[in-house]
């Protein structure tokens, strides 16, 4: 096992994010306390916990989406590829490499093609042939190509919920990130679409690092390699309780609180 130091330059290959003592406040209210976690590359990490425990807040800190709220303050360090994302990284560059899929599918009111092409067009002016290929590849990777290849010019809003979510995944893939963050990606979808997307995540982890926030523990146990369990304390502040290999967390949790949460949901 690789020794993980304070300055994790050595651990870059297997660790995507290295988080030390991360705290977050909305104004005066603290929402996250002292989070310490190393998120593994090319694996699926799940964040579970009761609602309001800060798992969404935390995942949004990983790509600095929380910057959009002016009252947010942070301390501690989140390191991506060895660099502190708050102090040493430009947020726009970060987001090119750390993509995000949201809970409610949010395709742009444009054609399917333009949706996928949006990301690449932001960062360059790719020639049409290159763009066509990128669109095709992204849709294939998102397992949506066969369903939409004949109607790339139709509006993205004409797709079903599950298809829209896969479109959003394809859209994220098109900018060729290293990490894909998913904030409850299937909670708004039906079981069949959910299964399709879980299958997708499984395929994608070979190439990408995936972090999933889910309130569905079966889902977490099904797809993730590692699981992080968050709780909320009496001051309504979220904190990390336990983090480890999924099997161990579910079958042999080290923390009593983890055990009662899991047995409560499963039992």
């Amino acid at each position: 096992m690789v020794q993980i130091n304070e300055y994790p330059e050595q651990a870059v290959d297997t660790v995507a994010f290295s988080v030390h003592g991360f705290n977050l406040w909305y104004g005066a209210t603290q929402a996250l306390k002292d989070v310490d976690i190393d998120i593994e590359s090319n694996a699926i990490t799940a964040f579970i916990g009761p609602s309001g425990c800060g798992k969404s807040t935390f995942i949004r800190s990983l790509n600095r989406m929380n910057d959009l709220i002016d009252t947010v303050k942070t301390s501690g360090c989140i390191c991506y590829q060895g660099y502190d994302i708050y102090k040493q990284y430009d947020p726009m560059d970060l987001r090119k490499q750390v993509g995000m899929v949201f809970q409610k599918p949010n395709p742009f009111p444009m054609s399917i093609y333009d949706n996928i092409a949006y990301g690449p067009r932001l960062h360059g002016r790719p020639p049409k042939a290159e763009l066509d290929e990128l669109v095709c590849t992204s849709l294939q990777k998102a397992a949506l190509w066969d369903e939409v290849k004949d109607r790339l010019n139709k509006s993205a809003l004409s797709l079903s919920g599950g298809q829209q979510q896969r479109l959003c995944i394809a859209r994220t893939l098109a900018i060729e990130p290293d990490v894909i963050l998913m904030d409850e990606p299937t909670s708004a979808l039906d079981p069949i679409s959910t299964a399709k997307i879980e299958e997708l995540a499984f395929e994608l982890k070979k190439q990408y690092t995936i972090v999933v926030v889910t309130h569905n523990m079966q889902q977490a146990s099904r797809i993730s390699d590692k699981t992080a369990f968050f709780l909320i304390d009496q001051d309504r502040c979220g904190y990390l309780v336990e983090y480890g290999i999924t099997e161990e967390i579910f079958l042999n949790p080290k923390d009593k609180r983890t055990e009662s949460y899991i047995s409560g949901k499963f039992g």
Binding site: N63, D70, F108
Partner: protein
């Protein structure tokens, strides 16, 4: 005892039926008042149309709309309002050209960038701009805009350009208010999707927010057109009021509204009918514009509720 109870009950029932009766008449009354607006619109159209009918039976429509000869007091009077139509169009288009960039920027600023005090200061200023009477704009136009145009571009100063500059200021609040509402209505999720892909602020605005708010922005511009075309007092004071075909932005001109208000004081007979005909043309145009906006906004409201 039973008698008194019976009396009391009878009275109570009578009271109740009176109250119910009042209720029914009240409902009918209210129905009438609610339709008052529509009634007013219909009445206005009818009356003005009625006054213009004698004109249409005398003068061919073609001459009215397409001839530039407006000479109601000549020996063989002609009533061609084409010059006025063109002037109205030019003045409105110029006003839009000047006003839209500022209005859209303000709308974008208010919904995307502004915080607290700055935002409310800006909003109050826009409200105030909207409340300034057109005569004040006209006075300001005469005192400041006309000399400005005269000194920088030559000519008389009283010109289409001056009129459109003043109109641009007047329609700012209209465009800003409606645009802002529709820009604000663009869902946060769409914006987040764009930001999550590493877009700059401007890229998100240009690529996602503005296209999504397009129908609202277009509505606001159409409303601005309606306001500009219907303005009378301010343009009258700075436009020059010369019933000629405008040859450039600095030439004097007369819009449809100016024509009506100027000649009304002394017109009679066919001349007066001609003015009412101009009025009905104006009214019809603005009604159509408003109907378009109303139906577009109804449609988009229905779509978003789906």
């Amino acid at each position: 005892m039973i008698q008194t109870i019976g009396q009391a009950l009878g009275r109570r029932e009578k009271n109740q039926s009176i109250r119910k009766g009042l209720d029914a008449t009240a409902a009918k009354l209210l129905l009438l008042t609610a339709l008052v607006s529509l009634l007013a619109v219909v009445l206005i159209s009818l009356f003005i149309m009625a006054q213009s009918i004698p004109f249409f039976s005398e003068v061919p429509l073609r001459q009215f709309l397409f001839s530039t000869q407006w000479a109601p007091s000549a020996n063989y009077p002609t009533y061609g309002i084409f010059s006025f139509i063109v002037t109205s169009i030019i003045v409105t288009l110029l006003a839009l050209a000047f006003s839209t960039p500022i209005a859209l920027s303000t709308a974008i600023y208010l919904s995307e960038f502004a915080q607290g005090k700055m935002a409310s200061l800006l909003r109050q200023s826009i409200e105030l701009l909207a409340g300034i009477p057109s005569i004040i704009y006209g006075l300001f136009g005469i005192a400041v805009v006309v000399p400005l145009v005269r000194n920088t571009l030559g000519g008389n100063g009283y010109s289409l350009l001056s009129a459109s500059l003043i109109l641009a200021i007047m329609i700012l609040p209209t465009i800003i208010n409606v645009s802002e509402v529709s820009i604000r209505a663009v869902s946060r999720e769409l914006r987040e999707a764009s930001v999550a892909m590493g877009a700059t602020r401007w890229q998100t605005i240009k690529g996602v927010v503005l296209p999504a708010a397009k129908s609202g922005i277009v509505s606001s511009i159409i409303l601005g057109i309606g306001r500009a075309v219907g303005e009378t007092t301010a343009v009258l004071l700075v436009g020059g009021n010369a019933p000629i075909f405008p040859t450039s932005a600095i030439s004097m001109g007369r819009t449809l509204t100016m024509n009506i208000i100027t000649d009304m004081s002394y017109a009679e007979g066919t001349h007066m009918s001609a003015l009412f005909a101009t009025g009905i043309l104006l009214f019809a145009f603005i009604l159509v514009l408003n109907l378009i906006v109303v139906s577009v906004s109804r449609k988009s409201r229905l779509e978003s509720e789906r």
